[in-house]
């Protein structure tokens, strides 16, 4: 998603926002404006407001929360969710930031590499995840077959051990979404004027100096927004867990998104499912507040 950045730096003349005063809408224009926004307002009411309200209502039964807390799977899902968010999001974005530097280099090789590197994002998620799931099968998956072929030993039980299975889910998430965020940071880096680097080089700054003194400070705002957005999206990520570990082994890798669906549609208790999902609100609300504040500052625009 498109994140564009306005880099806050002295070398660039501040963009003067056009605040052309216009007269308020009159007559037919007003009707046209109304007609133009109606589709979106309708979509918003019918498919955002109503479901959100209905979901809140479904999840407002205290008994559901009591039942949820009594379920030993719930605390482990909360912990998994936190680990998933902290590790997957940060690992992914840190790698993306570094790799975007690689793709800044000129030359046919880096351009070709970028074309290939983008593939995981362009290939639909479900087929890729099914493939990763099979690839990691401990008895006949590609990885352990390769380990056996090379070293004649049984590889690790990727999906049959709780920690490894969660690790595998994180791997799949990073694999799928790393290219996207790399492209975003690449765009951010391209906005940094070359002269900054050139003058730094003249002053004798090394690559690391340039990264820490120019790139990172200038991309900091963008990085923060990306972290917040990516965290929110990862919180709602159902497919990675569903198709890589399926929540297994022994329900040990469920996150709130998958546990909610399980409680609602496998155990037949939609109120419990909604309560599961809503229990993420204490985490979600601060994220949204931070994100909104960050976006209002206008340094980074969506």
């Amino acid at each position: 998603m498109a994140i564009a950045t306005t880099v806050d730096n002295p070398a660039v003349a501040p963009v003067v926002s056009r605040s052309v005063r216009r007269s308020p809408l009159a007559g037919t224009d007003r009707l046209w404006a109304l007609a133009f926004v109606t589709p979106y307002v309708a979509v918003f009411c019918a498919f955002v407001l109503y479901p959100v309200g209905y979901g809140m209502w479904l999840g407002s039964d205290v008994a559901s929360y009591r039942q949820l807390l009594a379920d030993p799977v719930f605390p482990s899902a909360v912990v998994n969710t936190l680990i998933y968010l902290l590790v997957a999001v940060n690992l992914k974005l840190a790698l993306a930031l570094l790799l975007s530097g690689l793709f800044m280099r000129r030359g046919w090789w880096c351009r070709l590499l970028l074309l290939i590197f983008i593939l995981p994002w362009a290939v639909p998620g479900i087929p890729s995840f099914i493939s990763i799931h099979w690839m990691l099968n401990s008895q006949w998956g590609l990885i352990n077959n390769a380990i056996w072929a090379l070293f004649q030993v049984d590889g690790p039980p990727w999906l049959d051990n709780a920690d490894l299975a969660l690790g595998s889910v994180i791997y799949a998430h990073v694999w799928k979404w790393l290219p996207f965020w790399t492209v975003i940071f690449l765009a951010g880096r391209m906005a940094i004027p070359r002269e900054l680097y050139e003058s730094a080089e003249v002053d004798g700054a090394g690559a690391l100096d340039r990264f820490f003194h120019i790139t990172f400070p200038l991309l900091g705002g963008l990085y923060l927004v990306c972290t917040l957005l990516s965290t929110i999206w990862a919180l709602g990520d159902f497919n990675s867990v569903r198709f890589i570990s399926g929540g297994g082994p022994a329900l040990s890798t469920h996150v709130l998104a998958t546990l909610g669906i399980r409680n609602a549609f496998e155990l037949g208790n939609p109120a419990l499912g909604m309560a599961t999902v809503l229990s993420a609100l204490p985490l979600l609300i601060p994220l949204v507040v931070l994100l909104t504040r960050q976006l209002r500052r206008g340094e980074v625009q969506l």
């Binding site: 809408l25 926004v37 019918a46 209905y54 690839m135 006949w140 993420a280 909104t292």
Partner: protein, 286 residues
Amino acid sequence: MSVASRARLDRRLTELGIGLLSAVLLIWTLVPLYNMVRVALQGKEDVFSSNVFPTAPTLDSFATAIDESYWLLENFWGQMGNSLYIGLTVAFLTLAIGTLTSFTISRMRIRRGWMLTNAALLTYAIPMSFLAIPFYSIMGKYGLTDNPIAVIAVEVTFATPYAIFIFKQYGASIPLELDDAARIDGASPPQIFFRIYLPLMAPALVAIGTYALLLSWNEYLYAFLLLSSDGHITVPVGLGKFLNSDEAPWNYLMAAAIIYALPPMAIYYAFRRKMNSGLTMGGVKG
């Protein structure tokens, strides 16, 4: 060591590092994709074998998927059609609703336009799967169970906020003076929208259209929940059916999956430049 040879050594080292990094990246990126191809090229009996490379590669499973001659694939092209229908409709509606809304907010300057922006921002910040439970019930109330329109509605809902942001962003580069001039000539808002706004927004339209198409091509949870009959399901849901087979026809599954992956890849690579410029313009240019 002379400065020149020192510099040369540095360059060598950098090149070596880049070479190594590239190799790692290539393996990282391609292994899961190679596994797709490997499984698809295997015979049905070899699915559980311990090979790393297919022993007797064959394109049979692709042929089977294409002529629907395996029973779980008997409606493969129908499902492909459903995916395409949903994807194109989502793309079209997202573009239509997104451009109309952003046009009104930023070019007609309606009062309380900020409310729409905030509404879009709110939608943006809802983790998509969190609404699956209420959505199922609500589609039942709307009489849309087992109806592709339900899936289209969900995807349009989650794609438009993003579209609005990008359009607002991109639209800022089109001078308002153009509108003013047209107004003086007596153009009505729809005329400005169609004749001035839309043509100038073309790159962003391509980017968002592709984005919406990819979004819907990736969707599983909602398609699974909201569609049930064979005539309505999309390819990912159809592929899900395979996983409950004790014939382990996974070579067919992967062949079908690869065919399914081709259109979005083609579209992405065809529009890559527009995509990148459309999705990452705006403030980037200063």
